[in-house]
């Protein structure tokens, strides 16, 4: 009952609308919650992130507005709404105006195929995962539009870095999802979640609990961090190098839109990671299945967000060559091995053999590739050319 409360609520509200308008009202009732819930989650995440980073860096973080700084997002919203909206004189006005709008629209679209709970999906597409990545590909173009139209060297540099990075990390991202698609035999997000429901003993049938799924999940989350331009992959907006990257020339509410779009992208890709590897809305333990499905989804989402914040507070930013080497010399071959390993898993039937074969594939590839990466960058005493 509580599990389906939102679905029932929608049907109850739908009953009050005239029959002619029902398709439109139904669509509206599906989209509105998405448009409301995730920006609120964004507001909460900004507080959580600033508090968390403050904790990691041994300072307080925001603590003036509201109780423990809880109302900080309200203050931020008022600030960004009342700030002057500056467009550089030599900027390309149309493209400069369109870039944040397209970024935001594209950030909202992937939620259409994320199953937030049982029967809670906006559009159950036959090719849902493909839809997610097709929409994600458009965001690269909007980032480029923002960087190019500002007519600022730093913003163009940031945009070029962002696009290069997104294209490089999209390959391992897609390949690690291909492993799951092969194992589930479907591109539909709903079917993928259904395949992961059920338990053996106390362990759920999540793909992350298989050898290839674990490796795939790690690869997926690394690539997702890079895809959303978060630290340690935040070269496109490195404050100390290129100030703020592609949105340097945006102020006021447009800047807030970029911020919102970036966080929405992070939630969406975390949601896909949950759907593909962490069993979507299914419960982690068999005696917890009475908890509503949507609570599990958001609990897992919050867990991944906290992971993102933790990583951001812990790891230093990568250098450009390290970024590219890591993508093409470690992530890509590893993702290919994960795909092969998932294929072996699928065709070796039930039993111990598939665990062993899959594990051996992943372990051997990991050791060899990691060794290759290590020997290539010889670690030695740093020599300075100009200063000593």
């Amino acid at each position: 009952m509580l599990d389906q409360v939102f679905v029932l609520l929608k049907h109850w509200l739908l009953g009050y609308s005239p029959v002619v308008l029902q398709p439109a009202v139904s669509i509206l009732l599906t989209i509105l919650p998405i448009l409301l819930v995730f920006p609120v989650l964004f507001a909460l995440t900004t507080v959580l992130e600033r508090k968390g980073l403050g904790r990691i860096q041994n300072r307080y973080g925001p603590n003036r507005v509201g109780f423990f700084g809880i109302l900080q997002p309200m203050a931020d919203a008022v600030k960004s709404l009342t700030k002057e909206d500056i467009v550089p004189a030599s900027a390309d006005h149309t493209v400069h105006f369109l870039a944040p709008l397209i970024l935001l629209a594209v950030a909202f679209l992937p939620y259409a195929v994320l199953p937030i709970g049982r029967n809670m999906i906006a559009a159950d597409l036959d090719a849902g995962v493909l839809f997610f990545f097709a929409i994600g590909a458009i965001s690269e173009l909007s980032v480029f539009m923002a960087g190019w139209s500002s007519r600022n060297k730093y913003s163009l540099l940031g945009a070029m870095r962002a696009v290069a990075q997104m294209i490089s990390y999209e390959v391992p991202l897609l390949l690690s999802s291909v492993a799951v698609i092969m194992a589930a035999g479907s591109l539909s997000t709903v079917v993928i979640v259904e395949k992961q429901s059920g338990f053996s003993g106390i362990f759920p049938h999540w793909y992350v609990l298989t050898p290839w799924g674990f490796a795939g999940f790690i690869l997926f989350m690394i690539a997702a961090t890079a895809e959303t331009n978060r630290s340690p992959f935040d070269l496109p907006e490195g404050e100390s190098e290129i100030i703020a990257g592609y949105y340097i020339e945006y102020s006021g509410f447009k800047f807030a839109l970029f911020f919102l779009g970036e966080y929405l992208g992070m939630f969406a890709i975390s949601g896909l990671g949950i759907t593909l590897f962490l069993g979507g809305w299914t419960a982690p333990l068999p005696f917890l299945t009475w908890v509503p499905s949507w609570i599990w989804f958001f609990a897992k989402l919050l867990g991944l967000i906290i992971g993102f914040i933790w990583v951001r507070g812990t790891l230093p930013r990568l250098r450009m060559d390290q970024l590219m080497n890591f993508a093409w010399k470690f992530m890509l071959p590893m993702a290919l091995v994960v795909v092969v390993s998932a294929g072996a898993w699928r065709f070796l039937g039930q039993g111990v053999t598939r665990w062993l074969v899959s594990l051996v594939f992943i372990a051997v590839a990991y050791v060899l590739l990691a060794r290759g990466v290590e020997t290539r960058n010889r670690i030695a005493k740093r020599t300075y050319r100009f200063a000593e």
Binding site: D92, V95, L125, D126, A127, L130, F131, F133, A134, I135, G136, A137, I138, E140, L141, F144, M145, W148, L156, M160, V163, I167, E170, G185, S186, L187
Partner: protein
């Protein structure tokens, strides 16, 4: 059905406006962005016709990869800020019309001779991704492998070209 054709006309208009803008705009980057709009319009047209895989692949490959590639090529070669007219205008109209007429004739011939126009039986439901995959892996496995081989060769070739250039400059 009327809703379907309404969306069709909206999407067709977006595609045409994008394509025309790509020809007529001055700035090269603007042209590239307009081409991306036309690609996206085509992709949504496929989706409108129920071809999910084709439409999404069109979005992923053309908007996500080809448009970005075009933009990169423009930025890395000539700056993209030149205001020169796209092509010399004098010789254009006649050749352009001729080429357009030829393409239209071929397309019209193909459409009027196609199976769909003449058969009275309703068309089959749009193929799911699973059916497409089965057909690709069973009936058309040889072309698929050949394309895979060709793309791999192209990838290796591109890497070799990039490597040689690096050695020459050092």
């Amino acid at each position: 059905m009327s809703l379907m054709s309404a969306t069709f006309f909206i999407l067709a208009a977006i595609t045409l406006v994008g394509a025309c803008a790509a020809m007529m705009l001055r700035g090269l980057v603007h042209c590239a962005l307009a081409v991306a709009i036309a690609f996206a319009g085509l992709g949504t047209l496929y989706l409108n016709l129920g071809a999910q895989f084709l439409g999404l692949a069109q979005l992923l490959v053309y908007v996500g990869a080809i448009a970005v590639l075009i933009v990169f090529v423009i930025l890395l070669t000539r700056g993209g800020d030149s205001d020169s007219p796209p092509l010399s205008r004098a010789a254009l109209p006649i050749t352009g019309l001729l080429v357009a007429a030829c393409i239209f004739a071929v397309l019209a011939w193909a459409v009027f001779h196609s199976f769909a126009v003449h058969s009275a039986v309703p068309l089959a439901a749009p193929a799911t991704v699973r059916e497409l995959g089965t057909v690709l892996m069973a009936d058309y496995v040889l072309p698929l492998e050949v394309i895979g081989l060709m793309l791999t060769a192209a990838l290796i070739g591109a890497a070799i070209i990039a490597m040689r250039e690096k050695q020459a400059t050092q």
